[in-house]
Amino acid sequence: MIEVIDQERCTSCDICVNVCPTNVFDKTEGIPVVARQGDCQTCFLCELYCPEDALFVSPYADSAQRVDVAALKQGPLMGSYRRAVGWTDGSYHLRSADRSYRLFGH
C-alpha cells in the first residue's frame, strides 16, 4: 500500500490525486495526503506517474508498514519502477525492452 509522500520531493502537483484509480489521495492547501490508505490496491501507478519520485508504495497489499523514509531515500527503491519501465529521461530506451516474445512465443 502507499506509505510515503516525501515532504522534501513533493511539489504539490497533485498528479497522484488525479491518477490514482481508487481515489486514495486528497488534495490539500499544501502537499496531498493519503486519505484512504485502506482503498489502495497496491498497483504502483501513483509512483509511476510521480515526476519527482516522491512516492513509495510498499509491496504489502493487506497491511500498513512502517517505512524509514531517510533510509529509503539513500537506497535504489524510490523511483525504481519508473526507471525500469523507461519513464525517466535516462531510461527511455527501456520502453521497448519487452522480451515477452522470447518467453512465450506466439
Binding site: 484509480p21 490496491q41 497489499a61 519502477y81 512465450f104
Partner: protein
Amino acid sequence: MTIRSGRAERLSSAAGSLSFDADVLVLGGGPAGTWASVSAAQHGARVVLADKGFCGTSGATAAAGTGVWYVDPDPHQREAAMATREKQGGYLQDRRWMARVLDRTYAQSNQLADWGYPYPTDENGKSQRNSLQGPEYMRLMRKRAKQAGVTILDHSPALELLVDESGAVAGAAGIQRQKKDRWTVRAKAVVIATGGCAFLSKTLGSNVLTGDGYLLAAEVGAELSSMEFSNPYAISPAFGSVTKTLFYGWASFSYQDGSRVPGAASKGGRSAIARALRQGPVYAQLDKADTDVQQSMRASQPNFFLPFDRTGIDPFTERFPVTLRLEGTVRGTGGLRIVDDSCATTVPGLYAAGDAATRELICGGFTGGGSHNAAWAMSSGYWAGQGAADYARQSGRAASRSASGAGTVALRKGSDRPFEPGVLARAVQDEVFPYELNYFREAGRLDQSLRRLNALWTAASRADIAAEQDLLRAREAAAMLATARWMYRSALARQESRGMHRREDFPELDDRFHHYVTAGGLDEVWTSTRPLAAAAYAEAAE
C-alpha cells in the same frame, strides 16, 4: 476514413453538477472503453467517456502487462491459433468470431504501432506485437481518445442508466467523487466497458472491477452469459498484489517443510495449490528459470519484481509464500450477452465490450488471462463503438427524449434500515473467495451459498437509500452480490465439468451440456440455455 465529429455538448445545469448531450456514452476507460470511444468518434459520434477512476490507470490492463492474441495473417498460423485453445475452452468457441477477432486485433495492434507504441524489435529486426506494457498502452489510449475529440470524465462512476419510455437506453447518471457532485449524460447509445468483477480481491489493478456494468445493464433488462466460467484464481506472493501467473510456469511449489506439493503447477496444477493452501502455507521458487529467462522476465515485467526487490527476496533462489487471489469474471469468460456482430446487448441502444461482455465466443469456458482478453477488448471495443455510433446516427436528438433513472438497489427509498456497503461486500467475499465453494464446486454447497446470497439480496434491496458518501461503495457491493448470484445459479445449471468450471459431483465433460447458459434477473435470478451458433445453423439447414 476518420470523420471529424463535434464534441459532446455541455448543457447548462444546476450549479456544480455536470450535464452533457452526446451521441455515445462509454462507461469505463480501460482498453475496451478507450477503443470504443475512439471508434465511435471515428464513426462520427460525439462521445463522452466516464471512468470510475482515471482513464489511463483504471482497470486490470493499466497496472500490468498483457499478452495479445496477435497472429500473422498466415492461414496455417491462424488455424493453429484457433485450434490450440478449443479443448481448454470446452469446445464452446465460435470459429467465425475467432477469425474476425484475429483480423481486428491484427489491425488494431498495427494501428497502435502507427500511433507510436514502442513495440520491441527482435534479433531479426521484426517488430514483435504480441505483448503490451499496461501503463504505456493505456497512457497512449487516453491520449488518442482525447485527440479523437472524446470528452473524458475521470473519477466519475455511473450509478444508473437512463431509459426512455420505450425502454431504450438514453444515457446514464453518476457522481463526480472528487468534487462531491453529480453528472448526467443524455446519449443515444451507451457502451458498457466497465470490466469484469474480481470482488475486491486485490488481484493486480482489479479493485475498480466490481461488476458495476452488469448491474447497470441488468437493471434495464440485459442478459448475461457463461457466468459459470467465473472462478479463475491467480498466483501472487502471499503478502502482495502482483498476480502474474504465467511467470510461475518456471516455479516449483513446496510445503513449509520444503517437500514438493504433488501435482502443483501454474498451468494444469493450480487446483493442487488450492488444496494445499487449505491445509497451510505454500511456497514457490522460480528455480526453473535459467539466466536468460530471468533477464527476459525482468525486462518484460518490471512490476513482477517490485514485491521481491522491496522485501529483499530473490525469487529465483529463495522460497516465498504464495496465495491464490480470485479473478472472477476479469479472467473468467462470463459477462453481458451480446447478440450480433456490433456487440449489441438485448436492450436497444446498449452495447458491451471487453471483460464486461462475455468472451465465450473466442474463449469458450477458459482464458489464461491476457492474450485473448486483450484481443477481445480491442476488437469488441472497436465494434461496440462503431455499432453505438451507427445506432445513434439512426435515432433522433437525445435531449428531446424522456429519460428516467433505472437504478434500483441502494438508490431507492426502502425501510429505515441503513445500507451497509462494507458489511455487504465482506459477506459476498465470504461466499466467493473460499476454494471449497467456488474453485471446487458441488451442488449442495452451491445451493446453500446461493440461499445466503439471495437472503443478502432481499435485505439489500429493502434497505434504505445509501448515504451520499456511501453511494458508490453501496452500488459496488450490490453489483458484486448480483454477480455472485448469476455465477452460482449458472454453475448449478451446468451439471458437468467444462473449461474452468469444475463440479466435484460431475467431474466429466457431458455432451448434453454442449451449450451456453444465459442468466439474468435481479430479484428473481433465472437461467436458460442457448445452442452454439454452429448447432443453430445446422438445425436451420435441416
